[in-house]
Symmetry: C2
Subunit: 294 residues, 2 copies
Amino acid sequence: MKVLDGKKISNDIKNEIAAEVDKMKSNEEKVPHLAAVIVGNDGASLTYVGSKVRACERVGFESTLVKMPSTTSEVELLQKIKELNENDAIDGFIVQLPLPPQIDTQKILMAIDPDKDVDGFHPTNFGKMALDMSTFIPATPFGILELLERYEVDTKGKHTVVVGRSHIVGRPMSILMGRRGWPGNSTVTLTHSHTKNITQIISQADIIITALGTPNFLKAEMVKDDAVVIDVGITRVADETREKGYRIVGDVDFENVSKKVSYITPVPGGVGPMTIAMLLKNTLLARERHRLKA
Amino acid sequence: MKVLDGKKISNDIKNEIAAEVDKMKSNEEKVPHLAAVIVGNDGASLTYVGSKVRACERVGFESTLVKMPSTTSEVELLQKIKELNENDAIDGFIVQLPLPPQIDTQKILMAIDPDKDVDGFHPTNFGKMALDMSTFIPATPFGILELLERYEVDTKGKHTVVVGRSHIVGRPMSILMGRRGWPGNSTVTLTHSHTKNITQIISQADIIITALGTPNFLKAEMVKDDAVVIDVGITRVADETREKGYRIVGDVDFENVSKKVSYITPVPGGVGPMTIAMLLKNTLLARERHRLKA
């Protein structure tokens, strides 16, 4: 069994990006610039956005944090997005979700220039992904592909079972694993809340990608020998031995499942840390596109 | 066993649309207007476009056929698309594929205003489909959904196996059958040329949608009792008893498979005739959107 070490790989990626930025600087080229918009004071959102800004600093990107009050209207946020779309200094930007209830999230995501949409949530980018065109892939699925690639996990002709059909993980992952190329070319089954006999379906899988948010959902007896297990679940479980009062657990009974499989991602330290690294990679890509257009 | 009669249903749909157009006329409203662009003189393409124009006439739509020579340049075609995008009289239009080799098909499809893209091939529309938003669904998948709906075929929690991952049938069908709602909410497996043990996978399917173009691919012994079989295969087989010298056959051994299953589409007369009916439906939808925007 081999652990797909997202902590290590995400560090490698950040180091590679930092080296590219160093080269840009020594060539006196403009470095990538990511902006992040946050509306309101949600603690978890502030933490996420903070990590993204710090990651930018670490690799040498420029970054701009736009903080807007929780009372911001849809019109005001749309105006801010228009400014960011038109601001030539900014290569890509994200709008941290969730947004306050007075704002229509779909409308906001649709207003972002697809060429600056480094989260890959705009329908144009999602459609390009589904049509095998080059585009921004949402960070979590992109991170999973990167892990499979760096560990040279064979996916061609394998049966991949994806658990959960969310727009940010399950749905895109099911599309990506079935696309031409590698990682891809696998036979993909997408399961969800209406799926019957899920245990039987999972028992046939060569690759299992679970994004349910149900601790201990995936047990050793459900998994085929030598399967590949990717755990995208993130659940906070109360834990008084931790300083924060909780710990993060995935969907997989890691202790027992890890004994049977060929590859597995831990939680934490698996898919999670990859997310921000792939956001940086998308920003690097946005800067390239931006230069090509200029 | 029940035949999903695409010939009958497509006629019903055309009659329903014609009745709506009659109402528009008696209210002195503008009727839907579809334009079709064809480049070159490919016989099959001319036949397809001709049927689309005739279907428009039958339901009372206005239609415009734009014929361009096979020597048309990419720039000339892009200019024509720009005109159609800007022409307020036209609600929707299609560019008949394939295009001559000097023209980049992707570039052309990207140039069509998504709000007039009644074929549903633009990435923005494809992405909206994959993100559960309202949009133009490509005609063949849309036709299959309509057949399932009109015959009240239960899809929730069923295991759907899609054979073939083309952009116009397999990929969108795999997404649509797994979306929330009905027809949908089924567990979907998308198979393709790299799939191993396809026979075993198909044997588990409650619903089989095959779009391979391989006559007699699906045989009775591969299919579960009471399965639903949708045949999207279209292959011309030489047949001297026919006036044209050929007949159209699907992917399914209809004679034997039909004895085991609960529902099945024939070829011809199944999915095929639905395609043009759904193009008309998309044009009707385009006209509604157009009015809402105006």
